[in-house]
Amino acid sequence: MSAAGVALPEAPAPPGWVRQRLISPVGAQVTAVVVFVGLWQLLTLIAPRVPSPVEVSQFLYVEVTGGSHGGIITGEFFEHFAITLRRFSLGLLIGFTAGLLIGIVIGLSGLARALLNDTVLVLLTMPAFVWAFLTTMWFGITWQAPVLTVAFTAFPFVAINVAQGARAITPELKNMSSAFEVGRWKQFRHLIVPAVVGYIFAGLRFAIIVGWNGILLSEWFSGQAGVGFRTRYWFDANRYRGFVGWVIVFIVFIVVVDRVVLNRLQARAFRWRDPIEVEIDLSRQEQVGV
């Protein structure tokens, strides 16, 4: 290398500008989106039935702004989204609360584990469409069917994860709590829930994904409104740009919930694990490195 007469730098060269941007979290995400859209555009060249990114964007613009898709068919977005979001939140709340409580009971009590663990595992393997069909058979075309579909699909993911977390609570802290005669509610709030919070988030992530999957199916089969219903409307109308447009909405929704809502909540819950000193030390090291 040095044969070319170039003086070798003593320290390894810092990564180039492009690489630096690529390895930053935001840069990597933007790159992933650009690559995805590029591949999609390529796909439309090979398969002309696939709507292009531009066509889908145009559709979404009309759908969101409530303009005309041609003729008397106008865009409808927010009313469907609001209905689905309401059902989804209620179902998730029911499934999550039940999963949290039953998970803690399974994790802390051997008897409850023997009684309930297998049942929860069976529920875990149940595909979302089974709940979508079953709840429609029970309740007909009503709001309960999608809500309960979300609750049933979300519940086992929360329960299994929380149970694992509750089993992992250190016996020393439990002994300390009972030695000082700390009340059960106080132990629940300050010992058990914080100890399983990482497992709660893991469960919640899965619960949101499978629950969202469930509500789409439920609304697709039995909805009179909601995003699943609207997606089917465009599918039945043989309008692929409408179908794909809504699929894009779902992807964006899940990504936003995960990246923005869940990540912020998680950072807040784990404040105690990020002592300020560590950050200071790291910045000092960087300065030394420069």
Partner: protein, 241 residues
Amino acid sequence: MARVEIQRLSKIFPPPQKGGDPVTAIGDVTLEVEGNVFVSIVGPSGCGKSTLLNILSGVETPTSGTVSVTEGDRPAHLGYVFQDARLLPWRTVMDNMLYVRDDDGAEKATRYLEMVGLSHTHDMFPGQLSGGMQQRVGIARAFSVEPDLLLMDEPFSHLDAITARSLRDHLQELWTVTRKTVLFVTHDVVEAVQLSDRIIVLAPGGRIFDDIAIDLPHPRRAADPKVATQQAEILGRFEEM
């Protein structure tokens, strides 16, 4: 000012292996502790020191004999300091102090934290404190419940010598002010002499080998020659064991 009464107490554990012999942790111990005294229970590993504390706190049940821990004519209220601090890592120091109290108790928590020199740590998380500071919070927590009897199970054994020494000073200051009845388990005779009014020496097999009164004023400095003389004398008795 609690009263501890132990009558012919034995604790025999089932054999650790199949076909082995049962293990006698405590063998026929009779003991009384009363008043504002600091009592150490000293002995080599495996002589039933911790088992004795566990029976007093109700974590374990005796094989035979009786124990009673009373304050007047009611059961005594107990406080604990463990080998490690056992703080909730996800709660601040102040919230850890309040965790063990029934009422809000913020005023008492503040006072006892101040007495161990940790007023500035209220809003810090345990992970931001050193091991010695965490144990000081543990000690402040035990005192803040204002127990009738304080049980301490080798609270300084996991700390380095210098930290342990400074914590002993903190403990003595706290004790001189509060004069709680304390049962302090340790394997360190030197530490026991510095802290205690009375030392109960357990021998292997869980019987009482010796019961020694230490009559020196509190607080005691580790470097005090009178303390050192007593320490040497009691270490000498150990060699006879």
